[in-house]
Symmetry: C2
Subunit: 412 residues, 2 copies
């Protein structure tokens, strides 16, 4: 008998009909002799509706009260799903985050799970019940309701799977799995059968919206096997698991892009020690996360041009801050550019294979795409390019690494 | 410094604008030097919407899960009101039923409050915070969410007022207070300034929908002074409190009517001991509450006609049950009548004054209204009449006891 944690996202429980379908799938899983814990999100659109309501009251709602408000979304879902299961003759019991023993820190709106007291759930499972848990929420030590941030239900599911030592954590969503790239950008995108935690982390952070990053970190830490799949079909999806040899034989697993950054360039920055440190610590103090950085000596010698990227949402603030600092530091002009995109290739195979980067640069050059910045990690290479070439670049890279072909046929 | 519990119903928090108005009123109360605990209902329409959702899943939703679902309505209200208060610069903190220490039995959907651990609330009040509590809900001993039934927020407010030894419990609603009769039926209806708990209980049970009966019982038991008033004006409403001499000098405080009953008559019931007992115990076993009963000897001697009233919602079932029993007991025909109404006069003055009943009967007779049944209590006389005369009867009784005049001018 296996213990399976299933997580259903907002789209999967978006209507009464879909909630019934989820109940049917849970029952089928149970009839195969498994114990089932179900984690659900708020019905699609519900969370946005609640946020709108709060913003009608105030542009900056109190974070504690915001969590009290948002937590109702998942509460509605667990009640309805439990009713649907009982209606179909299956014993089920709903759990709020707090009732499920999910204790977090008190960072309202982005709380982190600290512990899970899962005895009550285990008892219900042993009694043959299906356990239905509200995703996205917990309580802090003083019993205040907390929420885990967007996509937090994934983390709830993975954390429960870890605490319960579940055999697998199935993440049901509205796509078939993790793809080699965005199928909306390139029709040749192929569903990946198996991917490592590290690759998935890079994919998530590069803008692939299938899983919350924290849930993948959690899964990696506790070695929880994830199965990302569609709630609208019975096809297997993508398994996210520990790296194995087969994965290492694949040069590149996926191509991602991110249009949500902007570039700021400070020209003629005096080239003396500590200047960059001052600049970036002031930006960090403003809670702005810098991604790529490049420094190039200017033609005049004692100066350098410094360019970096920040999230688009922080662009205006960064620009102002940079202009002030440029003046203070005696630098030159500050130039901003919002029309940029970052394309990345990701794969654990890069660790053991050379010539991956050059193949990427050649592929982009062949399309006449200029590379503004480059950043690399062990398993990822990112290039900053003009935004208008994004789709072209994605397709060129997908072709260059033959991602449309299954791994076994991959050119090595 | 007084401690005031204010309860706002669904209409009073029905829109964002109205929630802001509630915040303003709370702040005004606070600025007068009072400590304030606010109890709120779900936004108007919200509870019905949730019930509809559940009924889309199943005609008979699991009671435990129904309470999980319904409790979200008040949770949304406390979050929004707390945000609105903070936005206006007032420290506020929301409490779910469970967080407020409200422990109930486990009768889901109609739970009764067993205890309130109000230390946390007291601490917040002492720190100068406004405390915002979700009405209608609590938790049982095993931390399951429970709800108190329709109008349960009134009971939450009164129970909190009792636990906190509040100076007054203000019930804000969409009417000006308690009226001598339904103003929609008679324009001469007058707002009552002060009314006793017992009168209020009779008014509530007779169909005046201002307060949940249980909340009045609670208020009486713990001697909590209630102030029923409008959230849309600053006029004082109706004080519900212990009986005093002045109230006793008033013959009749109000006239109520109830169209939600039906009459069942069993003809030629054998007139032998135990027959009525058998009939009514079978009806009671079906969870049907019988209100008025009248037995009249039939012309043939050894038989009697037995008539009684039940809630309209139980009418069909009662009719079937009575027909079966009539056959078993060898009785005659069973006749049902849904076109009946009960009109009542209520007043603690009846205890010490005679001729109230006769004045009532004369007033009805003068209008040619036939009385089918009569029932009385110490402070109430009810007459069952043809439903079509309801409004006429109410107006006639209101005039007969001169309820349009303030108590001081009342004829004694």
């Amino acid at each position: 008998m296996a213990l399976i944690v299933q997580k259903y996202g907002g789209t999967s429980v978006g209507t009464i009909e879909r909630i019934r379908n989820v109940a049917d799938r849970v029952i089928r899983t149970r009839e195969k002799g498994n114990q089932v814990v179900v984690v659900v999100s708020a019905m699609a659109g519900k969370t946005d509706e609640l946020i709108r309501l709060a913003h009608e009251i105030t542009p900056s709602p109190d974070p504690r009260e915001m969590d009290v408000l948002l937590a109702t979304g998942e509460q509605v879902s667990i009640a309805l799903l439990s009713m649907a299961l009982k209606e179909k003759g299956v014993e089920a019991r709903s759990y709020l985050g707090g009732q499920a023993g999910i204790v977090t820190d008190d960072a309202f709106g982005k709380a982190r799970i600290q512990s899970i007291a899962s005895e009550a759930i285990k008892r219900d499972l042993d009694e043959g019940k299906v356990v239905v848990v509200a995703g996205f929420q917990g309580v802090d030590e003083r019993n205040n309701i907390t929420t885990l941030g967007r996509g937090g239900s994934d983390t709830t599911a993975v954390a429960l799977a870890a605490a319960l030592k579940a055999d697998v954590c199935e993440i049901y969503t509205d796509v078939e799995g993790v793809f080699t790239t965005d199928p909306n950008v390139y029709h040749k995108a192929r569903k990946i059968d198996r991917i490592s935690y590290d690759e998935m982390l890079e994919m998530s952070s590069m803008g692939a919206k299938v899983l919350q990053i924290r849930s993948v970190e959690f899964a990696k830490k506790y070695n929880v096997e994830l199965h990302v799949r569609s709630s609208f079909s019975d096809e297997p999806g993508t398994i996210v698991c520990q790296e194995d040899e087969e994965m290492e034989n694949v040069l590149v697993s996926g191509v991602t892009y991110n249009k949500n950054e902007a570039k700021v360039t400070i020209k003629r920055l005096p080239d003396r020690p500590g200047i960059a440190a001052q600049l970036f610590s002031e930006i960090a103090d403003a809670n702005i996360v810098v991604d790529m950085i490049i420094q190039t000596p200017s033609s005049e010698g004692a100066h350098a041009n410094l360019a970096f990227t920040v999230p688009l949402t922080d662009y205006e603030e960064t620009l102002k801050l940079s202009q002030r600092l440029a003046k203070e530091l005696g630098a030159g002009e500050v130039v901003g550019n919002k029309d940029i995109a970052k394309v990345s290739i990701i794969g654990v195979g890069m660790r053991s294979h050379t010539n991956v980067a050059s193949r990427m640069f050649v592929a982009l050059a062949n399309e006449g795409i200029n590379i503004m910045m480059i950043s690399t990690s062990e398993i990822k290479i990112s290039c900053l390019i003009d935004a208008k070439y994004t789709e072209l670049a994605v397709r060129a890279l997908h072709d260059a690494f033959e991602l449309d072909k299954p791994p076994s046929e991959e050119f090595l």
